[in-house]
């Protein structure tokens, strides 16, 4: 799948415009993504424009994304607003990793019994803008695809990336 490819526009011009985002999580899928670059850096660089990738670049933009890959669960209204803005700037959204796909383990606090919560947990919940419940991504925005796993399943991610490279006619089947 990720060996030979044929660019339909060999003189560069069009690349898949991608954003990578992290919300509440351990960022393990971001780390795994950086590991995938060990083998795929040169290949993906010719096919993908990473327009937003905070882990690797300072100059980032969320404007006019073809695909937003979003890791992590949503912990607050502020995050919900932010991820909605990303959705509105993206043609497609792919939920990345367990926290984005089903909320857990970041949503563990949804099971806390308020009267049993420690003083310190309550203090942070009250002094910062925590929502009552942590939400998975599709509870907040429309999600087009999911790459599950903790961290994400690397092969499933590559399959998803390939799907959108074909969908946007960046590549044809070799």
């Amino acid at each position: 799948m990720d060996t030979a490819y044929v660019s339909t526009q060999p003189d560069k011009i069009k690349k898949l415009v991608v954003g990578w985002f992290s919300f509440t999580c351990s960022e393990d899928s971001t780390i795994l993504f950086t590991e995938l670059l060990n083998d795929h850096f040169a290949e993906w660089k010719t096919l993908v424009e990473f327009r937003h990738l905070k882990a690797l670049k300072t100059n980032n933009s969320i404007e006019n994304l073809d695909v937003a890959f979003i890791e992590g669960a949503i912990s607050s209204e502020k995050q919900a607003t932010e991820v909605t803005k990303i959705r509105n700037n993206s043609k497609y959204v792919v939920a990345i990793g367990a926290c984005a796909c089903n909320g857990l383990p970041s949503a563990s606090r949804n099971m806390f019994v308020p009267e049993n919560m420690s003083f310190k947990t309550k203090w942070y919940m009250e002094h910062f803008d925590y929502a009552a419940k942590v939400k998975k991504l599709e509870d907040v925005i429309k999600v087009d695809d999911k790459v599950d796993g903790c961290p994400m399943n690397a092969e499933a991610f590559k399959t998803a990336l390939w799907k959108y490279l074909k969908l946007f006619k960046i590549i044809e089947n070799a």
Partner: protein, 433 residues
């Protein structure tokens, strides 16, 4: 700049989300906030009531990049609570797995996050596709180094992120020694590339001198990330179980992470590779020491940017240490050591890539977690990062704002902070800042 605010909303090329707010009045910095923005996941509360055997794997989810450090600190805490004594084979395998973690994690930080600063570009994505370009060569070195670290983890503990083989008392699956020769060959082959990186970060001249004390593990026998006592620059040595008593937690009201001060004559302290090289350079692997001799006179250093060079040297240390272990270890099939469940308290302290990491587990006689605490390196460094930024901005307000922003990010990046970790906390008395 006479008066105004400088805000860095999101610091880039670090793990997690943090920002900086600086208030300037009449050419003086009147306020500076280093703000950790990641939301807490309250894992130390979520783990309560879970069986101890499930807890290390759950708590490794605190962090993606240093999950192995959390896993091993948690295993150590629980094993000590149960009086479990590990076999020599388990100790050695954990040691070499930890080498794999350090190789991969340091290389990610140094090459993916810091190297663009060295090259004067925004991102590794901007490095030219020219095989003779020095940036291109270093970037491809980093792919080889990172991949080797990951492959060591895969062979020894099943994965580099949230590893499945380690368990309380040993391993669920014994690593296959038939895979060691290939790793040994690659470890030997990688040394010139690692040495090229060390020279690169030695030649990267940045200065910011901290007045902080340093803390790290030291055991007097070897350069060790797992076993030792916590040592400071006065030579004070604290056992792992007493570390908690020497810290005071500080509420930083605008940050999702609290900070820490050390109950000693030093007001603040710094943890990480710089602390380890400052205190333990005499314990480096003899082969490492011989090959980096020309760089070692820098240490002890109070220049926080030397944390980058210290990490680069630690990559070679871990390569040579892994070689020693893999060449000599004789693998036998072992079952995890088990003892009857009992009520107890255990503390596990390890050196995570970015500094000293503390886990404390209190277990009841049914083997369930009753209390759990974590202190992570970035929380410990948080106050120091803020002090260093205040010092930098205070001395450089005549510079253009874009220069101040770039340089501030370089200072923060030198600490290799991890915000995912930093939003976990220790339950001890607070001091209002």
């Amino acid at each position: 700049m006479h008066s105004g605010n400088i805000t860095i909303e999101n610091i880039t090329k670090i793990e997690g989300t943090a920002g900086v707010e600086v208030t300037v009045e009449n050419d003086k910095v009147t306020n500076l906030k280093f703000i950790i923005k990641d939301y807490r996941r309250f894992y130390t509360e979520a783990v309560l009531g879970k069986p101890y055997v499930a807890s290390p794997s759950f708590l490794s989810r605190i962090c993606g990049t240093c999950s192995v450090a959390h896993l091993f600190a948690s295993l150590e805490a629980i094993e000590k609570s149960q009086d479990i004594v590990l076999t020599e084979q388990t100790r050695l395998l954990r040691r070499v797995a930890y080498d794999g973690l350090m190789i991969r994690d340091h290389a990610l930080h140094l090459y993916f996050f810091v190297l663009p600063d060295v090259l004067g570009i925004d991102s590794i994505l901007d490095i030219p596709d020219d095989h003779d370009d020095s940036g291109h060569i270093l970037l491809h070195d980093s792919f080889d180094i990172k991949k080797l670290g990951t492959d060591i983890s895969d062979v020894i503990i099943g994965a580099a992120i949230h590893a499945p083989y380690p368990t309380v008392g040993g391993f669920l699956k014994t690593p296959d020694p038939a895979k060691f020769p290939a790793l040994i060959e690659r470890l030997e082959k990688i040394r010139p590339q690692v040495l090229r990186g060390i020279k690169t970060f030695f030649d990267y001249k940045q200065e910011l001198f901290s007045d902080a004390d340093f803390l790290c593990l030291r055991n007097g026998k070897s350069f060790d990330f797992i076993e030792g006592e916590i040592t400071n620059s006065d030579g004070k040595a604290i056992t792992e179980s007493n570390f908690h008593d020497f810290l005071k937690s500080v509420v930083v009201p605008y940050s999702q992470s609290e900070g820490y001060v050390f109950s000693d004559q030093h007001d603040n302290y710094l943890v990480g590779a710089l602390a380890r090289l400052n205190f333990n350079k005499d314990l480096l692997n003899p082969r490492t020491k011989a090959d980096v001799e020309q760089y070692l006179s820098i240490f002890p250093s109070k220049n926080v940017h030397h944390n980058n060079l210290a990490q680069a040297i630690e990559i070679l240390q871990c390569v040579d240490d892994a070689l020693d272990v893999l060449k000599t270890i004789k693998i036998v099939d072992e079952k995890p050591v088990k003892t009857p469940k009992k009520a107890g308290v255990g503390v596990g302290v390890v050196e995570a890539p970015r500094g000293t990491l503390y886990h404390m587990a209190r277990v009841n006689d049914k083997g369930m977690i009753e209390d759990y605490d974590v202190i992570v390196p970035t929380s410990q460094n948080q106050i120091n990062i803020e002090k260093d930024l205040r010092k930098y901005f205070g001395a450089n307000l005549d510079k253009p704002e874009n220069v101040l922003r770039v340089e501030a990010e370089k200072i923060i990046r030198a600490y290799d902070p991890c915000m995912s970790c930093a939003t976990n906390f220790l339950k001890i008395d607070w001091i209002r800042k």
